[in-house]
């Protein structure tokens, strides 16, 4: 097998998949500080998306006492920036699903990605970050490089996976050895190519090695810790594999007390299950 280059992988993806127009339009409107009704009008163009957003606005995540039945209200309650993140999350899920149906065990991939997303969102909320959905997206997409591998070079992807299982080494180690780069790098470079925010690019590239993140070390540290926690939860629910090693500085960088971990671990189960229900209303069973 010829060794594929990183550039080859990225090019192969961007020629067949681009960021959904609705996200780009929304992002532009928000940058220009468009009024809420204009943002709502963009979302309402996609009926499926609009109805899913209403479900989220009415979910326990936002815990609003009365029913929210218009997109304009949802925009006001969720906030335009967080809303753009939710739209990004939902459209990426849809895109990946369509491109990879039948080629790869997506259920396992989504379970891990959504668990990590929910953990990142919780860590961000304990840190009192203003846009916690940004971290949900970072957790959701941290392993998107694996998807790229299974889409473009499935033989390599499978070989690496088998080898990692057999030798009990982390995937990124085997990838680095066989390809010269790992799925974190692939994912981050793809997101960069799509011109997504630099913080998201960095947190994806450095989610295994947060100490190398230059501009957004806390974002990378947060996704790293979220991944460790989500692995602990999945394993404690009968999942396979092992807990990856923690970079201890990453935890220090979050400046969170240890006392949040026990409640967070409980909340994570609930919020992960709720996220799965919101993202895949008819399909997946949580845990």
């Amino acid at each position: 097998m010829n060794k594929p280059t990183l550039q080859h992988l990225i090019r192969a993806v961007v020629t067949v998949a681009s960021l959904p127009t609705i996200y780009l339009r929304l992002d532009e409107a928000i940058r220009e500080d468009a009024p809420h009704r204009e943002v709502a009008a963009i979302i309402s163009d996609d009926v499926g998306l609009a109805s899913r957003l209403l479900r989220i606005a009415n979910s326990p995540f936002y815990g609003f006492p009365s029913k929210i039945d218009t997109i304009t209200r949802a925009v006001t309650i969720i906030g335009t920036r967080q809303l753009a993140q939710l739209v990004l999350a939902m459209s990426m899920v849809k895109m990946i699903d369509e491109k990879l149906k039948g080629k790869f065990d997506l259920e396992l991939f989504w379970k891990h990605s959504i668990t990590c997303a929910a953990a990142a969102r919780l860590l961000a909320s304990y840190r009192r970050e203003s846009n916690i959905e940004k971290y949900f997206v970072a957790g959701l997409l941290h392993d998107i490089g694996r998807v790229v591998m299974m889409m473009v070079i499935p033989d390599w992807g499978t070989r690496i996976f088998d080898e990692a299982m057999e030798s009990q080494r982390p995937l990124y180690d085997v990838e680095q050895e066989l390809l010269g780069y790992d799925h974190a790098k692939i994912g981050g470079e793809l997101l960069r190519e799509w011109r997504l925010p630099p913080a998201l690019v960095e947190s994806t590239i450095y989610h295994h090695r947060p100490r190398f993140a230059k501009e957004y070390p806390v974002d990378a540290a947060l996704v790293h810790v979220a991944e460790v926690i989500s692995n602990c939860l999945q394993i404690s629910e009968g999942g396979h594999g092992f807990v990856p090693a923690l970079y201890s500085e990453a935890w220090d960088q979050l400046e969170l007390p240890l006392s949040i971990i026990a409640p967070l671990f409980e909340q994570l189960r609930v919020q992960r299950d709720e996220s799965v229900r919101l993202i895949f209303p008819d399909r997946m069973h949580a845990a």
Binding site: S236, G238, A245, S259
Partner: protein, 115 residues
Amino acid sequence: MVKLDLVKPGMVLSKPAVHASSGREILAAGRVIEDKDIRTLKSWGIHEVSIEGGDAGRYASPGNVIPIETPAVTDRMGQAFRFADLTHPLMAELHRLAQQRYAEYLLQRSAGSDR
């Protein structure tokens, strides 16, 4: 407020637990609950407390306590955490929580297979 039945060791008080009629503070805010604290609260007749992390406690399920020293638990968790540095406080805490949760998982699974 979270009912005392649903309070588990490791949860953190977000407000002090106060004995209503005397006004005496029994446990301070920020305290990490231990088994003995639950007994103390019961003995003071306190039936609910405020838990950090909002309503997390609401989801905690009551039920049997499973000993986490069971080999089925320690073996699997030992294997899963073999690359983790358990002297790091975060990993030690996650290891403890994962053991608890895995013990519950095994109990649920065996209850399921009895049906």
